[in-house]
């Protein structure tokens, strides 16, 4: 039996190659996701280990710092001298680390800044746990005066600076921008680079003057253990002399803590990517099922002959499954290779949003290899099982018959099973919406999947009227060729439906995302229009904080009436991460109208918070309650002064006062400034005055309400484009599926093609016939997908209406364009099969068996 299988594989290599391609793409996505996140993990690992010494001394709790909101606490510098007295310590160095120092390139553009931090250090000779110095001087000299800096080699190259050039920097301090001479280049200790982060090195005293008000303090102290002293011994020795409020951590513990924080973020990225991999695999499954069904159907007579010659059902079944196994192994192997390339592609995609991995290694872990094969083989075997079972049910007597028909379940039964799956899916989604967190999302996802598979099962019947309607157009426009194309699309409803369904899944998700994106944009517009009273806004498009000096300077301007600064921070409420905004209560009213659901703004002071309606609900908070928010510096108690509804201009869980945030140990850095001009002041004049203040700093820009809204919408678009790009792969698989089905159909209809050619159908007409069939399949898939996407979109928007997306907006034009694009994709999908059909030798085609 194996010989037969092997022979089949070789004889049908083209057809199998197409179905293997589905596996290749699916596996590539899985492998690529893991390789990429592993590479990210390694790079971050390198940074963490390369910046951690044997023992680190920090303000208590700072080791578990949240990703935003700078800890304002410091360590008095004389402690360094004290620690140097310890015999266990070989080397003790104090570090001043500042975040938010960005380099502006020669062309005036921001380097990095789209997520990765802009770091600044004082130069020091710390040795990391890796044994390497944290910094080495690559070229030039270290800065020694206030007007000098050094940069890391990569940043200097990207910015186009050479030693001796004047470098422009953006800082979180005062002044917010500065110019300095580049005296040297440093190399960061760890391999894998800085993952897009930029590094600016100041002189020890200069960094204190600039960012620590001249105080003799450090943000952390790093100790290297003496010969024969372990990390733990050194830490215990340090603990003896450590004053209150500081803690000492071994390098290993500190690194592990940091890696855990990074691991959580990487886990999100990996899960995010794997969701798309799953979509690609589900679409691929459709393609594999379809390919094997067609192959089995085309071979039914041969299989019947095997049965007639005495092969058992089991043997026939096994023959088909063995074929699938070989295909899946080949596909998985190629997929793994493609995954490596895809990881490089993802590196470029993420580099686009600032996460720069440089030339970091792409590690292929054993886990990735095993998982890739497991996914490829299991998905293929599951997908091939149904066709294999059907193949084994062919009666031996069929070998004698002219037209062999495979036993098939009735369309009615299929429809009923599909309807049940849709019902189950709806129930799952409803449950998911009622639930919360990861479990709720999982239920919603499973519900959608169940509904999509249900619709795919019903598609042979649902699709018929759509294809027939299309047929009316085809016949009118293309006459007989249109008629032939329509009839070909209808002749095997299961095949057409399965092929369309693969595209349907991709388009459902694209349509869903476009509806959610559009709704988010319209909701943003509405929120800004309804609640924003400030005429001008200063913001940083990439979400980095900026110096409070800007607010102070702008307040001084002639035409400016008020400046309202917003700040942001993260904190913990119990175990959950919460997002905080802070504002001055006195000037809040001039920036925006904060609708209040309960409580009053009167009572809003540095001891109190406003809580969002969703957070109030989920954490069971009411006006007058006390709430404990945990910051890096420790917990702070607040009273709930009021509740604000989500969807207005204020996002986040809590609104604090600026004093409230400072009292919690967060360094003052602004995230948004809302500006009103004096009545009668000329807007153009005020604008140019403010722009003068902001000059030299491309990260912070001035906008009016419309521009501010556009900036917000631009962010939404950027997320949408990344999602579209990732869904694109699933759509490519679906389009390949159409090519595959058409190619197999053309092979199956060889004699018919020959007949048509013999009686005078031209090559061109034949191509058009195949093309029209392809368009019919793709338009069917696109229409079903768009309809499903609209249904899901409405459901999702309703479900998250209280989380800021309170307006439903369906981008009809865009959805229409998706359908047109699908039709064009159909034309592309048909190119090869149509060419093949047109090129068939007429005589050979007619006489083919």
């Amino acid at each position: 039996m194996f010989k037969v299988t092997w022979h089949n594989l070789v004889a049908r290599k083209l057809r199998l190659a197409l179905s293997a391609f589905a596996i290749v793409l699916g596996v590539a996505f899985v492998a690529g996701s893991f390789i990429f996140t592993d590479a990210l993990g390694r790079a971050f690992d390198g940074i963490v280990k390369g910046t951690t010494a044997d023992v680190e001394v920090l303000p208590e709790g700072a080791g578990q710092a949240d990703s935003f909101g700078t800890d304002a606490r410091t360590i008095p510098a004389p402690l360094v001298e004290e620690l140097r007295q310890l015999s266990e310590a070989e080397k003790v160095v104090g570090t001043d680390q500042v975040q938010g120092v960005f380099v502006i390139s020669k062309e005036g553009e921001l380097i990095g800044g789209n997520g990765p931090p802009g770091l600044a250090f004082n130069y020091n000779e710390m040795t990391a746990i890796t044994g390497d110095p944290i910094l080495t001087v690559a070229d030039g000299e270290l800065p020694s005066t206030r007007d000098q800096v050094a940069l890391d080699v990569d940043t200097a190259t990207k910015a186009g600076y050479d030693i001796g050039d004047e470098v422009t920097l953006v800082t979180p301090g005062d002044p917010p921008t500065m110019k300095a001479e580049l005296t040297g280049l440093v190399r960061f200790g760890s391999e894998g680079g800085l993952v897009g982060a930029t590094l600016t090195i100041f002189d020890d005293q200069v960094i204190k003057d600039l960012f620590f008000e001249g105080k003799d303090v450090y943000t952390n102290i790093s100790l290297t253990a003496a010969e024969g002293v372990s990390q733990v011994q050194l830490r215990d020795a340090v603990k003896e002399v450590l004053p209150q409020g500081l803690e000492a951590l071994t390098g290993d513990d500190f690194a592990a803590d940091q890696q855990e924080i990074i691991g959580t973020i990487l886990g999100f990225i990996n899960t995010f990517l794997l969701v798309f991999a799953a979509v690609a695999l589900i679409v691929g499954t459709f393609l594999i099922i379809n390919t094997f069904s067609i192959l089995v159907a085309q071979r039914s007579r041969e299989l019947a002959l095997l049965r007639a010659m005495g092969a058992s059902k089991k043997q026939v079944n096994r023959a088909v499954l063995t074929e699938a196994l070989v295909v899946s192994l080949v596909g998985s192997t190629v997929g793994l290779g493609m995954g490596y390339l895809l990881a490089i592609g993802l590196r470029a995609l993420f580099g686009f949003i600032g996460l720069d991995l440089g030339a970091a290694d792409m590690p292929v872990e054993l886990r990735t290899v095993l998982l890739s094969y497991a996914v490829g083989v299991i998905v293929t075997l599951v997908a091939a099982y149904l066709p294999a079972r059907r193949a084994s049910r062919i009666a031996p007597v069929q070998a004698m018959r002219d037209d062999v028909a495979l036993p098939e379940t009735s369309l009615r039964r299929r429809f009923l099973v599909g309807a049940v799956m849709v019902a189950v899916g709806v129930a799952l989604m409803v449950t998911g919406f009622a639930g919360s967190g990861g479990r709720g999302l999982l239920l919603i996802g499973l519900g959608m999947l169940s509904i999509l598979i249900g619709v795919a099962l019903m598609a042979p019947m649902l699709g018929r009227p759509i294809v027939q309607a299309l047929g009316v157009v085809y016949r009118r426009l293309f006459g007989t060729v249109g008629n032939l194309a329509t009839e070909n699309t209808l002749r095997n409803p299961r095949r057409t439906a399965a092929t369309s369904s693969a595209l349907m899944i991709g388009l459902t998700l694209v349509a869903l995302m476009s509806i959610l994106g559009q709704s988010a944009k319209v909701s943003t517009d509405k929120a800004i229009e309804e609640s924003l009273t400030a005429e001008l806004i200063v913001s940083n498009a990439t979400g980095q904080f900026f110096s409070t000096a800007y607010a102070d300077s702008i307040r001084e301007l002639d035409g400016v009436d008020s400046v309202t600064a917003f700040r942001q921070a993260g904190a913990k409420l119990g175990n959950s991460q919460v997002f905080l905004q802070a504002v001055e209560p006195e000037s809040l009213g001039s920036a925006l109208q904060l609708p209040v659901d309960g409580g009053s703004l009167e009572a809003f002071d540095d001891q109190s918070v406003f809580v969002s309606s969703t957070r109030a609900k989920s954490s069971d908070l009411a006006v007058g309650d006390s709430v404990k928010l945990t910051f890096p510096a420790g917990p702070t108690e607040f009273d709930v002064a009021g509740i604000f509804p989500v969807g207005g201009a204020v996002a986040g869980d809590f609104l604090l006062t600026l004093e409230g945030l400072e009292r919690s140990g967060i360094k003052p850095e602004d995230s948004l400034l809302f500006i009103t001009k004096k009545p009668g002041a000329d807007e153009a004049v005020v604008r140019s005055q403010i722009e003068e203040v902001l000059a030299d700093n491309p990260t912070v820009t001035l906008k009016n309400q419309q521009e501010f809204a556009d900036e917000q919408k631009d962010l939404i678009n950027r997320v949408l484009y990344i999602i579209y790009a990732l869904l694109g792969l699933a759509i490519i698989i679906a389009i390949l599926g159409i090519t595959n089905t058409l190619a197999l159909s053309v092979i199956e209809r060889t004699r018919e093609v020959g007949l048509l050619r013999a009686i005078g159908v031209s090559r061109w007409q034949l191509r058009r016939m195949v093309g029209l069939e392809s368009i019919a399949i793709s338009v069917l898939g696109a229409l079903l997908g768009v309809v499903m996407g609209i249904a899901f979109g409405i459901a999702m928007q309703r479900a998250i209406a209280d989380q800021g997306i309170d307006v439903l907006s369906i981008p009809w034009l865009q959805l229409g364009i998706f359908v047109v694009l699908a039709a064009l994709a159909g034309v592309l999908a048909a190119l090869l099969p149509a060419r093949r059909a047109a090129k068939l030798n007429v005589l050979e085609a007619i006489t083919t068996e």
């Binding site: 006459g479 007989t480 060729v481 008629n483 032939l484 009839e487 070909n488 209808l490 002749r491 004699r751 018919e752 007949l755 048509l756 050619r757 013999a758 009686i759 005078g760 159908v761 031209s762 090559r763 007409q765 007429v842 005589l843 007619i846």
Partner: protein
Amino acid sequence: MFRSAPKPSHSTSSTVFGPGSGVAARALDVRKVYGEGDATVAALDGVSIDFAAGVFTAVMGPSGSGKSTLMHCMAALDTVSAGHVFIGDLELAGLGDKQLTKLRRDKIGFIFQAYNLVPTLTAQENIELPLSIAGRKPDRQWFDTVIDTVGLRDRLDHRPNQLSGGQQQRVACARALVTRPDVVFADEPTGNLDSAAGAEVLAFLRRSVDDHRQTVIMVTHDPVAASYTDRVVFLADGKVVDELSNPTADDVLEEMKVLSARSIAGTSTGG
């Protein structure tokens, strides 16, 4: 049976170049060679033959005699290695795919042994197919004549799988005739039919020649089928070896026996 067609002379070749009056199709010193070098096999080895308009001709011969190859070459389904093929006054050599397609559509009708019909189209759509792909409307009167001659009026809305084998072949005949082609090529049109259904199809072809002056060239191995024709051309080893006018089934059978005996004794060729 009434024969209106002119009777061709008892000759095995014609030396007239170009189209002669009343010649629907002509082969002139046609050679068809398969393979290369030492493995060359001549399926047709210098065949010259005229098919007069309005005549029902059978092409016969043992397996490998080249009769199918001759028909394929005549019908613009295959190209010749040397020689000339004419349909009406048009020489096929040098025609591109577009012109050949147009020729098959407008000047030639086909009836194959099986799988003649497009399964997704109704009988009527199948019959009209050569016209509709050319964007032409059928001539109502001629269409009705054809339909009535094949006797399928009550089956026009049926799909091929709802028709018997004989009915399917009659639909194929109707389709071959609906364009009023210069010549109809029939390749074993009764090969898959029982004798009754076969007789219907042959009678129909006969009538189309008698009543409508169609030209029909039929490849067959069945002496009874050949007896419906005006003229039988015999091929062996890629050459025209003999022909009969107004044949009876017995005449044909006799001739076939002689030929197969010769073929078994001699060398056999592919074709």
